[in-house]
């Protein structure tokens, strides 16, 4: 929110209301605005996303983490155009995912985004060799012949799997399969690459190779990469990690290289709590449990920060009377 005098009169309020504001996430490459997704499975209604907000800038390499069932895969399915949200708004590279027609959706999948899944069976056709697997998306997009072969070779070389171009998935190691899958996802030069647990079935060394391939794609091709994972190791290798809890973004960790006074460079990771446009934020669970916060907290505005205290009764274990402020 822009800084300025707080409106005190009705005229000021009206002027503030009509003043043009930039759209939420107008400068972001990926925008999720209050996303809601409800689905029914075996008669049970499940609210997978409960108003999720997320902004990803162009060229970012972002990890989305969260416990099982937190809504990570639902978010990825929506962003990849394979699923539609129940409510809210989502756009990727300027494509509004809610209003896309079938033809737009097809173009979106062909040209705008690429996907990498955890299981190799979902990434590669077992009957095609690595080169054909990479060329297949190009053939759907209309790129054929020498141009397709050249780009395929480049991609495979870039991801360090050029030597397996003539092998089928069954003849590749897990890491090679996933790197070929990344090449497949990059075949049509997408702006965004989504990866769902790309290292979930791999050992740590191989996972490192795969993640290096993702970083290479991000770095050399400028592709925005969103990786969904629950692997803390993977999450530690990206600049920005977004945590999802109960269908909402709960916190965000930003890693930066800091040079100290001695000139030494060290990585600093700082975790932030997400604040939505309504001013709501979600406190970390351990904070809440440590201080025994329940039902209500006391908030105070200081010079440059906001303080949050548990109520006095909660601190002492005594029951406060309703409406009585904490001391």
């Amino acid at each position: 929110m822009p800084a300025g005098p707080i409106p005190t009169t009705l005229d000021d309020l009206e002027a503030d209301a009509v003043r043009p504001r930039p759209r939420y996430g107008h400068d972001a490459h990926i925008v999720c605005d209050n996303l809601v997704r409800i689905y029914r499975t075996e008669g049970v209604e499940v609210q997978a996303l409960q108003g999720l907000d997320l902004l990803v800038g162009k060229g970012d390499l972002v990890a989305v983490v969260g416990a099982s069932g937190s809504g990570k895969s639902t978010l990825l399915n929506i962003l990849s155009g394979l699923d539609a949200p129940t409510a809210g708004a989502a756009s990727v590279a300027g494509c509004d995912l809610l209003t896309m027609k079938a033809r737009d959706r097809l173009r979106y999948r062909r040209e705008v985004v690429g996907f990498v899944w955890q299981q190799t069976g979902r990434n590669l056709f077992s009957h095609l060799d690595a080169m054909d697997n990479v060329m297949l998306p190009m053939s759907y997009a209309g790129t054929r012949g020498a141009a397709a072969e050249r780009r395929t070779a480049e991609l495979l070389e870039m991801l360090a799997v050029g030597h397996v171009r003539d092998r089928r998935p069954g003849q590749l190691s897990g890491g090679e399969q996933q790197r070929v899958a990344i090449a497949v996802a990059l075949a049509n030069a997408p702006e965004v690459l989504f990866a769902d647990e790309p290292t979930g079935e791999l050992d740590s060394a191989t996972a490192e190779q795969v993640f290096e391939a993702l970083r290479t794609a991000n770095r050399e091709l400028g592709v925005t990469v969103v990786v969904v994972t629950h692997d803390a190791l993977v999450a530690g290798q990206v600049r920005r990690t977004v945590a999802i809890r109960d269908g909402r973004t709960s916190s965000e960790t930003v890693r930066e290289a800091v040079v100290d006074a001695d000139g030494a460079q060290r990585d600093v990771a700082e975790e932030y709590v997400m604040l939505d446009r309504a001013g709501r934020m979600q406190l970390p669970r351990e904070f809440v449990e440590r201080l025994g916060m329940r039902d209500r907290v006391r908030v105070a505005l200081d010079e440059d920060h906001v303080s949050v205290w548990p109520t006095a009764r909660e601190t002492t274990g005594a029951q406060a009377a309703p409406g009585e402020p904490a001391v």
Binding site: Y39, R40, L106, H127, L128, L136
Partner: protein, 1016 residues
Amino acid sequence: MRIPLRTRTALRDLRADRALLTCLAVVIAIGTLIATAGPALVARLDDRALRNSVAMASAQGLGLTATLSVVGIDPTGLGQENPAAAPAATTPLAVETTASPTAASVATNTSTTSASARTTSARTTNASTGTATSPSPSPSASPSTSPLPAPLTTFATDILAPLPPWARSMLGPPTVDLATPFVDAAGPGLATTGGVPPELRVEYANPIPGGVRYVEGSAPPLGPLAPGAPAPIAASTATRDVLHLAVGQVLTLSRAGSPVGAAPAGEAAAPVTARVVGFFEPVDTLSPATATFWYTHPWLRAPIAGPGPPRDGFSPLIQRASVLTSAPGILAVLPAAASAGPVTATIAFPLAPGELTADTAAALATQLGRLTDPAAGRPCTPAVFAQPVQCGPFVATSAGLSVAADIKPTLDRFVAARAEVWVVDSFSLASVATVALITLFSAARLAVGRRERDLVLHRARGASIRDLMTVRAAHGILLTVPALLVGWLAARLLLHIGRHRAQSSGPGAGWMLAAIAVAGLVVLPALTWARSRPRPDVADRAVAIRRRLAVEIGILVLAAAAVVSLHGRGVDGLRNAGIDPQISLVPALLGAVGAALLLRLHPLLLGGSLRWARRRRSAVPVLAFAQARRGPGLGAAGLLVLVLTLAGLVFGGLVTRTVTGAHADVANSVGGDAVIQGRGLIEAVRSDVAGVAGVQHVIAEQTLWLTPDTPAGSASVTSAPTAVPIKTVAVDVKALAAADPNSRLVHLLSGSASSNSPISAYASASAVRQNSATLSVATPTGSAALNLTAVGTLTLADLRVIGAELGDLTPQDPFLVVPLTAAARLAPGSDPDTLVVDGPGIAETELRAALPTAVTYQVQTHRALMSSLDTATLTDSLDLVAFGSALLASAFALLAVVLELLAGARARGQAVSFLRTMGLRSRSATSMLILQLLPPAVLAAVAGVGLGALIPRLLGSALRLRAVTGGTAEPRIRVDFATSAALGAGVVALVLLAALIDHRLARRRKLGAVLRFDSR
């Protein structure tokens, strides 16, 4: 050259799905084979039934008959000199030749004048030559072997002129029969009976079926007769022996009491003489082609004694016989014989069974019907003031030429029966087609379903739905076109075997082939589209319930509308034999209703089963029923297949049983295990028949026609206000009592022993209105009184023993039944004409061996009648379609059920594998599957049997079997409950077999292949 990437991918998918796609191809090929060859094969059986039916009718003398009462003949046409035009008279004589091949060939070369006559004459010659060769060492050809005189041939051709050429080709060569009335014969040495001379009838019959063999003398010469020369005649050896005839003997023929020529007042009475030129014996009197001729010409084979015209107050017994003559002979006799009574010329055209086809039967019947219309063109001069008319070579009475198509009812009955059978066939074929389509759908769904993950990956990689559908459409083309070709070629090959020169092709199968082709081409891309399209979530459960209800109501309404429409239309709406689209639609709709009902009932049954299993605390049933509650296991398609298949089987069996049962009823209605009909069945003959091995009882019967003296007196004969004769059947009460002591006829007819007392007679309800009355009838010796007992409650079963005598009469028609002893008073000198023989397994040949050889008898055994009913009606075609449909539907159903199980095999395998990790045994896993499938299988069995039994009611008036069964009324529908129950059990067994097959296939899957620790 490197194959394009997407083509390689498509080919790889083709290889990966080869098993299921082969299934599809096989279903398409079989469907094509059935659609192409099925109707034609059924039509061939129809042809055979028609030919058998027509052959049987022809054997009974039915055909197309032209008759006219002849008062004179143009002599120029029949080999006699025309006194008024002598030069022209010699030409036609050359047509008639002796039967020696050389003479015949010469005659053929020098005969006819018109092209049409030449053609017909040549055909007649060939046909006659083939049937009349003599095995005798010194054979003499009979007149039957000679070709018809050209004028007769031309006349016969002219009679058929109104028919189109194709209809004319279905009529065989004509036979001509000219017979004088019986006239007194006198001559030296001729045997008389008590001084009363015998009566002879001079007959020209050409050709005689089977021919005759001359054992003495020769056939009457075919050459012209000199004016005033005696007519040449030939008699049978039996006639020779009885009448003491000799070759060369000259007989004088005269009317009773006066010479023939003296009959008409004022007409010059020239004496008519005839010379005996030979004696013959019939070559064959037993075969179907000849028996009827000899049965209907008994006097030609041997003299028959009978009461003659009253002389001096009484009717003496005289011998009557027929003799053969040539065309010039009949010409010499006819002008004078015509004054003694009506001289009938009969030109019969038998149908040529080999030329008949079922497809043209209706059109032929129509054409024959038009020909019999008096308004149709006749080759006769117009009648003017009751003056004689000229019809070809004949001068006939003003009534002219009368044409009767006795064979038409046979054709009409066949056409009606064929339409009835096609209703059943349509139903059966539609059931098979629906099951085949569902099988096709199941195989395609499984093929596409197995590739769902690939579809998702292709979509994720940028493939459009159209791209995916194109690949599947290519697969569809690759499997459908060869399958269609293979099916079509196989059908052509099959049809080439046993090909007949003239045969029906059956109803066109073009639309069926088109439907199969479209299904084969469309099913894969359509299912691919259905799997790939974005599917919106149905959040509201109520919406899903409403949708399901709407679909169910829609199906129910459609089925009800189709059934009501069928009821309204009836079988009359089905003018032509063929696959009726409306009837074809009904089984699919009814099956869908049954399946929808089952899907509703299934959860209830499972709930009950689950409660029962929980009470028993047995893990496997509980797990099985709990898992089955999540889905029927077989799915709607599987249930539909089972219901349809079973309903089709039950319905087919029901129809077959009804037809067979009705045939048995018809066969039983004639009574006894064998019936012998013919003249002279005297006591001695009856004793001989009774002595045949296996014969238990012989009941003699006789048909009389009694004319009431006082029609409106003491008895009220409804059908006889002007004393119309009533058919009266005399039956041997004593023999009947021995055969069936409980017979109601025995009870009714016993009691009239005295020769003067009134005769006890049973009268049908419509023959007399009072319960007890007397009826006076005229007899040769005066009159006799009949004591009538009207019993309106006698059923067909009560009258079964006289069924052969009653013929087409029903218990409601007017007739009388009297004891055989009374027949002697009512018709003195007559003998029983029918013997009803009891004794299962009697052989016709043994019965014939016990009968006199001089008389031709009709012998029909119960077994032969059943066989003839089956072959002459469309039972074979009905059985073929029912059996073939049952076989195919069962095979398709098994395949469809296995495919349905395979579709859910992965999910089921995961569940079972999960349970196996907890210790479930492999055998228990199979038990689980069986328990899961048992409720829907049992439900499907019950629904299928119920639907099959209900179909006759649902089809209503559209299902008629009267013409098929050959009965006089619509047959009673017979449901074979035992067989139906067995079929229901068979369906349950079918499902269990499918479960075992699925189990076998499941054993090939490793536990880890379906259940992984990391799978989500």
